[in-house]
């Protein structure tokens, strides 16, 4: 069923003018072609339904003591 859904989606994309698709895939336990397709279709369904979120922004802050150590680092131009 999932294979059919993916084929249907992909065919529709080609009809809409799709000329290329590439994916970032993080290999993990139980990864499969079907699992990848499922995630892609879930993302597409969310987009089609307008379920979007803001782009991630920086939220965490560095440890003050570590930042102090790092900010003080210099190197000589000769080393560059």
């Amino acid at each position: 069923m999932n294979s059919s859904n993916f084929e249907t989606w992909f065919s529709r994309q080609l009809s809409d003018g799709l000329t290329d698709i590439k994916l970032a895939i993080v290999a993990g336990k139980d990864i499969s072609n079907e699992a990848v397709r499922k995630e892609l279709l879930a993302a597409e369904a969310a987009i089609a339904s307008g379920f979007l979120r803001p782009a991630p922004r920086a939220t965490s802050t560095a440890s003050e003591s570590m930042s102090k150590i790092l900010k003080a680092v210099n190197i000589e131009i000769a080393q560059v």
Binding site: I21, V36, A43, E44, I47, L52, V73, V80
Partner: protein, 221 residues
């Protein structure tokens, strides 16, 4: 042998292309953000912009070339697919790109978005296009299998190049000497924190720790 030689030539072509591309983009982005190409002081370091709205970024450069959007679907989580790239041609045959990013962590989102944005520079020859059901199936199979099963088709080679280009962009070659000094400084000044040295440095420039480790390890001294 001929097939292997051809595969190697394709790989070398795309590595050269993405290296030159990353450098050219950095030559635009760094000065517009008052970032040094070869910083000598850690206080000069800030994250190289990827999609941030208030900065001239990689996303800006891509859009100067071809209309491109980034969409952030609100899905509960992902396991295997943090991002993907789609390219279309409209009714007038004009190209446009859509990037989709599921990664929520800021550092990861920046890296995955950068990787997919790199595809916007690698698309002109159509040799590497994934434009049929068989090709997308093969690509998913190979990427899911990981490096052990790579067959070095143009599609997978281009994907490898995009990862490489993203890492080069986020952590410019000229930054490596300073980053190495920062790492050594942490190890010396805070030995108890040495194991987290890469994490702290990665946090400063907002890249995934694993990417920083790989860049610093692979860059020749």
């Amino acid at each position: 042998m001929d097939d292997n030689k051809k595969a190697l030539e394709i790989q070398q072509h795309y590595v050269r292309l993405i290296t030159d591309t990353s450098l050219n983009v950095l030559n635009k982005v760094l000065p517009k953000n008052d970032l040094a190409a070869m910083p000598t002081k850690a206080e000069q370091l800030r994250p190289v912009p990827v999609y941030e709205e208030d900065a001239y970024s990689l996303f800006t450069v891509v859009n100067e070339r071809c209309p491109t959007t980034i969409e952030w679907p609100a899905i509960p989580s992902y396991t295997y697919v943090p991002a993907y790239y789609k390219r279309y041609r409209d009714a007038d045959k004009k190209p446009y790109n859509k990037i989709v990013v599921m990664a929520e962590n800021y550092c990861h989102a920046r890296f995955f978005a950068a990787k997919e944005l790199m595809h916007c520079f690698l698309d002109d020859d159509h040799i590497s296009a994934t434009n049929s059901f068989d090709l997308v199936n093969s690509l998913i199979d190979e990427l899911a299998a990981g490096n052990n099963a790579m067959s070095f088709t143009p599609q997978t080679v281009v994907d490898e190049a995009a990862w490489f280009g993203a890492a080069l962009y986020l952590i410019p070659n000229g930054w490596i000497p300073l980053l190495k000094k920062m790492h050594a400084t942490i190890c010396e000044a805070a030995p108890n924190s040495a194991q987290q040295a890469f994490f702290h440095i990665a946090h400063e420039i907002r890249v995934p720790e694993v990417v920083l480790r790989a860049r610093m390890k692979s860059h020749a001294p």
